[in-house]
Symmetry: C2
Subunit: 205 residues, 2 copies
Amino acid sequence: MNTSIHTAPATRGPSDHDVRTQIVDAATAYFTRYGYEKTTVSDLAKEIGFSKAYIYKFFDSKQAIGEVICANRLAEMRRAVDAAIADAGSASDRFRRMFRAFIEAGTQLFFEDRKLYDIAATAAGEHWPSVQAYQRYVEELIARIVREGRESGEFERKTPLDETANAICLVMKPYVNPLLLQYNLEGVQDATLRLSNLVLRSLAP
Amino acid sequence: MNTSIHTAPATRGPSDHDVRTQIVDAATAYFTRYGYEKTTVSDLAKEIGFSKAYIYKFFDSKQAIGEVICANRLAEMRRAVDAAIADAGSASDRFRRMFRAFIEAGTQLFFEDRKLYDIAATAAGEHWPSVQAYQRYVEELIARIVREGRESGEFERKTPLDETANAICLVMKPYVNPLLLQYNLEGVQDATLRLSNLVLRSLAP
């Protein structure tokens, strides 16, 4: 497993950075068209007009490139969720918006970027670092919202915070994990609403 | 789709019933050894010593046989769940036991009858009638427990019953649906406990 995002030595100049970006951009376009699983590093090299060896100078493997694409896409989803909850009036409202935003981001990935969804599903199935980081983001965001709701008196405080947050993560998992979302797309809007209501009832003081 | 369990004409004698049982028993053993997906009706016919045409006299397709096996296995799981909750002291206790029993029945199917699990997963993915009946059983059981808890004063009564029951179904779905359970086996005991606690907090009056 190559954690390619951060491992480019600091001594390398911006031109190396540019080459990496160029490879990632070309690979994103290529994967979007032909899918991640079926593409080889040779295919990519041919497409960009680089030698395979030159690409391997920047990325240890196809997965290392996929990892950067996945991290970029997940960062975009995080920004969408953060934006959706930014001006929420209460912790309950923040929770509802967060849940809806995760579903929107996930279904958009599923329906609009079908081929990139394949990378996300592979990444989720193989626990890539970018997916683990995303998972931590989800957990921390949920814990933060629960904490804020407790501080404002909206939510109960008897249950240990980590138990509450962890249980809510479990409720949301089938919709937040791209690997599972594909089995839960039917009636997903209604499901999210009902689950949000259930979770908020469980949080009532 | 053949609903083979009930479609044997009433005029057929018990010997037809015996032949059906013999085919189902042989198929269960064969699928358990070699898997459902890879087996053909020809394989089964050879194994039992029947002609393929004779088997088709009793079952329209391989799926029709798989459907009976699936229905039998799900009936066994239902009996296990019913037994687990039979002498529960309260609706909360009944709910906890039910959730645990579903997980136990599902994981047993997954680990001990790995090849039969393949049938269950296919059946869940393709919405076979037996799976739909099982799903209805789960929904009705949850609704019953919620109703009993409301009547005894253990659970809140403000939320419409069907909304509450449906939301709880959604919480349990990743563990009750064999297709999804395989992605949720890690730490499943702990997850069930935490989700049970969350659901019971949401049901508090």
